[in-house]
């Protein structure tokens, strides 16, 4: 059962990539990217999980605790979430602008740049 989070995160990544390849709606593409991001974040967090560990807050630690969950992966995940937020906001802004110019969200029709 210990590997369940990793399996789940890989499934999220696979779902995201599937969405990116098969979907044509720009918003759905952005959602696909976000799903991949969530999968990667889940992977990072579960990487730092220690069975029976407590939250890595020193002042809240009960006396005689065994071990803490690793704090570094959590910091990494937090940074990745912040970056993901910026990316998503930028992507959505571009989608809005594209929609204004072309009047469509179909990625199959937004192919002015090719060849």
């Amino acid at each position: 059962m210990g590997n369940l989070p990793f399996v789940a995160s890989m499934m999220l990544v696979a779902i995201g990539f599937l969405a990116l390849i098969t979907r044509r709606n720009l918003i759905k593409l952005a959602i696909g990217i976000t799903v991949i991001e969530m999968g990667v974040n889940l992977f990072l967090v579960s990487l730092g999980y220690v069975r029976g560990g407590i939250a890595p807050v020193y002042t809240y630690a009960p006396p005689g605790f065994k071990q803490m969950v690793l704090p570094t992966p959590q910091a990494l995940t937090l940074t990745a979430i912040v970056i993901g937020l910026a990316t998503t906001a930028l992507l959505l802004a571009f989608i809005v602008v594209i929609y204004r110019h072309r009047g469509t969200l179909d990625a199959g029709k937004i192919r002015e740049l090719r060849g």
Partner: protein, 148 residues
């Protein structure tokens, strides 16, 4: 907007503001910090956009971008404070002055007056995130309006 949304917003607004402020201020003691608290606080802006509409918040855009820059500059400036030793050096920690109290050991409710420049950096980040996310929300709502 309907009366229900308005009333709920009026109730939620101070709670969200207080909780966001708490998360930012306790960033160096508990999980959370500038980004999380800022995101909570910025959700108020999203609520206001829902209630008032983006048009009425248009005027706030300029102020928010100024605040965002101020937050970013404050963060870099705080990192520059340590340049006597190294960049990002936490010179206030353990100095006894502002945020310089020694960290108590053992289980305790936590002392806000510790961790040196870290709480200040959390505030700077919180300011930047509130302003940044707020202007993103307002701008995205305005995009929709102009398409009509």
């Amino acid at each position: 907007m309907s009366v229900v949304v308005r009333t709920i917003t009026r109730v939620v607004l101070p709670v969200a503001l207080a909780f966001g402020g708490y998360v930012i201020m306790h960033g160096h003691l508990t999980p959370g910090g500038g980004f999380q608290g800022g995101a909570v606080t910025a959700s108020i802006v999203a609520l206001l956009v829902v209630v008032l509409g983006g048009e009425r918040l248009k005027g706030a855009k300029g102020w928010l971008s100024v605040l965002e820059d101020v937050g970013a500059i404050a963060f870099v400036a705080l990192a520059f404070l340590g340049i006597g030793a190294t960049f990002f050096r936490n010179i206030l920690a353990g100095s006894g002055g502002l945020f310089g109290a020694p960290v108590p050991t053992g289980p305790n409710p936590g002392n806000l007056n510790t961790a040196g420049t870290l709480p200040l950096m959390n505030w700077a980040v919180g300011l930047k995130v509130i302003a940044g996310l707020g202007s993103v929300v307002i701008l995205l709502s305005l995009f929709g309006r102009e398409d009509g």
